[in-house]
Symmetry: C2
Subunit: 172 residues, 2 copies
């Protein structure tokens, strides 16, 4: 028994309650300007990095991941109360994103699911419930998150009713 989760294309507007979309697109950056003798454009400051509270520091890591098989069952979400976490594809692999707002009673709000276009990354803001990485194909992702010794920075929420990501044909 599980409920089908509708997957929508990732846009900055729809994702704004959960974090930032990391992409070189109009309006995505704090500013855009030419660099490197005009050979490149810099889309500057694309995501809020929240990793440097007391005892924290920013780390870059690579997740080398397998693809998920559809349909995929969502049984739990996680969150990092002490830091943001960004995922950026290194080989143009699209990935699914599942997030939920925290309701005022401490429970989860409705789950939302997105699929990136292969050029997009995201950064989850501190404390946002999200599923772990769900890649459409195997590949490497750059991860920018918080390292802190001795802190519990990962909480897990088990869903009472699982959700399912069905075929990509459901993409709105």
């Amino acid at each position: 028994m599980s409920q089908v989760l509708t997957v929508q294309p990732l846009t900055r507007e729809a994702f704004a309650p959960y974090g930032d979309v990391i992409e070189a697109a109009a309006g995505s950056a704090a500013s855009v300007y030419a660099v490197n003798d005009g050979r490149a454009q810099r889309f500057h400051d694309l995501a809020r990095i929240e990793t440097s509270d007391a005892g924290g520091r920013t780390v870059m890591s690579i997740f080398r991941t397998e693809a998920i098989l559809l349909p995929f069952e969502i049984t739990e979400l996680e969150r990092h109360p002490r830091g943001s976490q960004a995922f950026v594809p290194m080989h143009s692999v699209p990935f699914f994103i599942v997030v939920a707002a925290t309701a005022t009673d401490g429970l989860l709000g409705p789950l939302m699911a997105f699929l990136t276009d292969g050029r997009q990354g995201v950064s989850f803001r501190k404390g946002i419930w999200h599923h772990s990485l769900l890649a459409q194909a195997s590949g490497d992702f750059l991860v920018i998150d918080r390292e802190g010794v001795g802190d519990d920075n990962c909480e897990v929420f088990e869903l009472q009713t699982p959700y399912t990501i069905a075929a990509v044909a459901t993409l709105a």
Copy 2:
């Protein structure tokens, strides 16, 4: 009149004096462990991020760059005295790296040139002389560096004798 710069494949060992190679490879990470219910391996903490001195913060940006045409003439290097700067390809585009050590007399040591394998990124340590991004094909690169208001964080060194990156056939 310019001197040909020999380009070598990028390895962590050869690049160690200048910074870190960002790649999911044996020995590249502080630690490697399974995440995401075993679907992924985390190559943890791949580069030293030096961006959070007084007034500084870490920012993520995208450089959307053109390819360079070979032969390419190297006429200047730059350095960021207040922060590290990392470049990670988002679409498997290889890039050339030109770096130089600072000699004890304040002048530049010998120039070194590397070519990445398309899966590798690098982080230049604070104050390391390097050329701006030299991509083998057009594409997007994620850049992780320091933002600080009002600081001069870019110095330029004009070379008295230019160097040339010749055809890739020179790759050792």
